[in-house]
């Protein structure tokens, strides 16, 4: 019954989204507040019915109803409850349902919390949002119905792919979708602005928190994905420039640019048409990401079962949405009033540089991801684009961006003087020099690149604090006054400092991993040990273990450093009988600065096992830095100036230094 109820709920949601998109576009001129109220109800209704459908599918998974095809193909009675639930989105159909659920959640949020939006803008935003929902609900009903029944249900299910049975991956897709589906808000607001033909300050005040929220979630989602790949795939890599990773990274880059350009719109009313364009492009990149993962156009390590007919459908949706939005943009954008002029050396100038570099970076990743398809069309050569391409294109574009990151926020709006701005950053420059010297000494002068990037990391971290010092005038006014200044500094400003410093931490992590990670593989008998980077790793014993739905061989390791016992770790080789699949669970010891990583490989049948041991200095910093970035974003979200309904500029005290 649940499955039928679910399908019914989806179809109702589909019709609701239809009226939700028709009403504002057709009736708004006459209907006024009544039409707006209707659209609000529709957006909430759409969410409720999709939530019901999602609940029905979850119910089918939890109760192991194998007469539902998706459940039979992806679940199993012996699976732990957590993975029965995460199995809901561990497959194409269910993950699309999660996709529209989150889409409608954002729509409902605009309906519920958008009281202070002008009726017309709100109705238009929800109308556009309804159109996106309509497209994807149709997609689900026609090509990806999660509620299809089987005529002969099997006695037990097929099980979930064991590498997906992991707590990190259970929560990774919801975060990722909250991120890139969240950018749909930017899209709906951009298109609504184009329909109305005007952008006012309330528009930007509305768009920015949504973009920021989506960006924070996406950052967490990407971080979780990277950490998951690190510890489950068992080869200690954390980023592969794989098409599916790029699919989430491109909206992140574009979203980061959007975040910053929306700021210029809000504060200075400039870069308006550019911001609208970015809003459209960011969400389009999310759609293209969805297309990439599901169409089979590119092969990848972690994509869903692929089907060209689904790809064609999504491509048609992209054509309609992005194509339609860009057509509207071409017609309407020239009419938008563009705001105040600014000097090149100014906060606006800095944010423009940020946008140019981030957009270029997005373009290089886009090119790298799709290049294999382009080449494929030119001749019939199939190629893979790997890390060397990105090292040569993406990294050089990021370097000036990283260098500019502390400078931008310290510049004044409208016009500033670069020399005095750099003066404010002098302490950070010294820190940068110290970091360079330390790295040079530690590496005995051999590693110039590592030195360079460590200096950049220090520049980012200390530069961010220099911005705070500058703002609170520590040292140049009495301490009590600095304290008062710090207290009255808006949260968004702290968000900026924290997020930018987090980037520095990530850069330090990447640099450390790239230059100083070591690894060793040896065949070991129990009792034997291997040595690497000052660690002695002894395989103590190997025993058999039975997990809830797998059997495993578990290797116990004693790790000693400089002769003293340091840690005990274990690693498992798991075998999942349902899927006939083998996975590795690595033993990882972290002190949040570096990781020790050991895995038990295959036995040679003569009493030895292949043992891999990695020493990964600074690895955790990559993720800690990324989480710090999203923490900065979340803190910024709590700024009362961004709070929904807050007046345009709340008092920030006498020192109204623009603060983001």
């Amino acid at each position: 019954m649940a499955a039928e109820a679910g399908l019914f709920a989806i179809i109702i949601a589909l019709f609701i989204s239809l009226v939700q998109s028709i009403v504002p576009l057709a009736l708004m001129r006459r209907g006024g507040p009544a039409a707006a109220a209707f659209v609000r109800q529709a957006a909430i209704g759409q969410f409720v019915f999709i939530a019901v459908a999602f609940g029905c599918l979850t119910y089918a998974f939890v109760t192991s109803d194998f007469s539902v095809q998706v459940v039979a193909a992806n679940s199993h009675t012996l699976k732990p409850l957590l993975y029965k639930v995460s199995g809901v989105w561990g497959n194409h159909e269910g993950s699309m349902l999660l996709w529209v659920l989150i889409l409608s959640l954002f729509g409902a949020a605009v309906a519920l919390f958008g009281d202070n939006l002008p009726d017309r803008l709100q109705a238009n935003v929800l109308g556009v949002h309804g159109l996106i929902g309509l497209g994807f609900l149709t997609f689900i009903v026609i090509t990806s119905n999660p509620f299809t029944r089987l005529i002969n249900p099997p006695a037990d299910g097929n099980g979930l792919n064991p590498i997906l049975q992991d707590p990190g991956l259970a929560i990774h897709p919801p975060f990722l979708y909250l991120g890139y589906v969240g950018f749909s808000m930017a899209f709906s607001f951009s298109v609504a602005a184009l329909i109305e033909g005007k952008v006012d300050a309330s528009w930007a005040r509305w768009v920015r928190p949504w973009v920021l929220a989506a960006w924070c979630f996406l950052t967490v989602g990407i971080t979780l994905g990277s950490a998951w790949a690190y510890y489950t795939l068992g080869w200690g890599g954390w980023w592969f420039w794989d098409p599916v990773e790029n699919a989430s990274f491109m909206p992140w880059l574009a979203g980061t640019a959007l975040l910053h350009s929306a700021l210029v719109v809000e504060r200075r009313h400039a870069l308006i048409s550019w911001t609208i364009l970015l809003g459209i492009l960011t969400f389009s990149l999310s759609l293209i990401g969805t297309f990439l993962v599901r169409s089979g156009v590119l092969t990848s390590v972690h994509s869903f079962a692929q089907d060209p007919s689904r790809g064609a459908f999504i491509l048609a949706l992209i054509l309609l949405s992005t194509g339609g939005a860009l057509t509207l943009f071409a017609i309407r954008a020239p009419r938008l009033r563009n705001g105040a002029p600014f000097a090149i050396i100014s906060r606006e100038g800095g944010l423009t540089v940020n946008n140019i570099l981030l957009t270029t970076a997005t373009a290089t990743v886009f090119l790298g991801t799709f290049y294999p398809i382009f080449v494929d069309m030119m001749g019939n050569d199939k190629i893979s684009v790997g890390p060397p391409y990105y090292n040569m294109t993406f990294v050089p574009i990021m370097v000036p961006l990283l260098l500019a990151m502390p400078i931008g926020p310290i510049l004044k709006w409208k016009r500033d003087d670069i020399r005095s701005a750099m003066g404010r950053l002098k302490p950070a420059a010294y820190a940068c020099l110290v970091a360079a010297i330390i790295t040079l000494v530690v590496t005995l002068g051999h590693n110039v690149l590592a030195t360079f990037f460590m200096a950049i990391a220090a520049w980012l971290v200390f530069g961010s604090f220099a911005i705070l010092v500058h703002r609170t005038r520590i040292g140049s006014v009495p301490l009590s006054k600095s304290f008062w200044l710090a207290r009255t500094t808006p949260l968004a400003f702290y968000g900026l400092i924290i997020a930018h410093a987090g980037m520095g931490v990530t850069i330090a992590g990447i640099t450390g991993m790239t230059n100083w990670a070591t690894e060793k593989i040896e065949m070991l008998r129990p009792g034997q040990s291997l040595q690497l980077s000052g660690y002695d790793v002894r395989l103590r014993s190997v025993g058999d273990i039975a997990g809830p739905n797998y059997e495993a061989e578990r290797g116990y390791f004693d790790i000693a450093r400089r002769g003293k016992p340091f840690a005990q770790l274990y690693s498992e080789r798991r075998f999942y009988p349902v899927r006939q699949q083998q996975t590795t669970a690595a033993g990882i010891r972290t002190n949040l600065i570096s990781n020790l990583y050991v895995t038990l490989g295959d036995p040679d049948g003569k009493g030895s096992w292949a043992v891999r041991f990695y020493y990964h200095p600074f690895m955790p910093l990559v993720w800690l830095g990324a989480l710090t970035m999203s923490l900065g974003g979340f803190i910024s979200l709590f700024d009362r100036r961004l709070r929904v309904g807050a007046p345009q500029r709340s008092a920030t005290g006498l020192f109204a230094v623009p603060a983001e």
Partner: protein, 178 residues
Amino acid sequence: MLPARSFIPLAAFLAVAALLAIGLQNDPHKIPSMLIDKPTPDFALTSLTGDDNGFSHHDLKGNVSLLNVFASWCPGCRVEHPMLMQLAARGDVPIYGLNWKDRQADSKRWLAKNQNPYARVGLDESGRVGIDLGVTGVPETFVIDRTGRIRYRYPGPITQEVWQEHFEPLLKDLRGLQ
């Protein structure tokens, strides 16, 4: 009068969309090989692992076999690897490996990590033999009959479905012929 430059984003987008549409049409598995039903080109490669005495076209005669082209830098190879391990465990058909455009140290490490399904693995660092075979990308798999002729070429990772649909019937035929 609308300025032409406001149409630039739309034009760029339409170009990309057109490419994606063509990409969708273009089934990567349907490139014909010039070498179907021709003998494999002559080659003699050094052994990747050092466990065997190298790998040459002579090894491909006498038995129906698979020739799998792989590289440690290729994500698709990681995807199909468990399938190859299953096939090797079943032992129905010997799998020979051609390690293509790769560094020996990298691919040795890769095989140590992921286990080695291959009866023999040749090291084709320069990609020379791959060119002779008409390899267009990795992974790619050839079915070789008893006389050492190429009977089938499959570009892309072998999955359970691909195996059942394309390989199993052909292997049955080839064995039945003798």
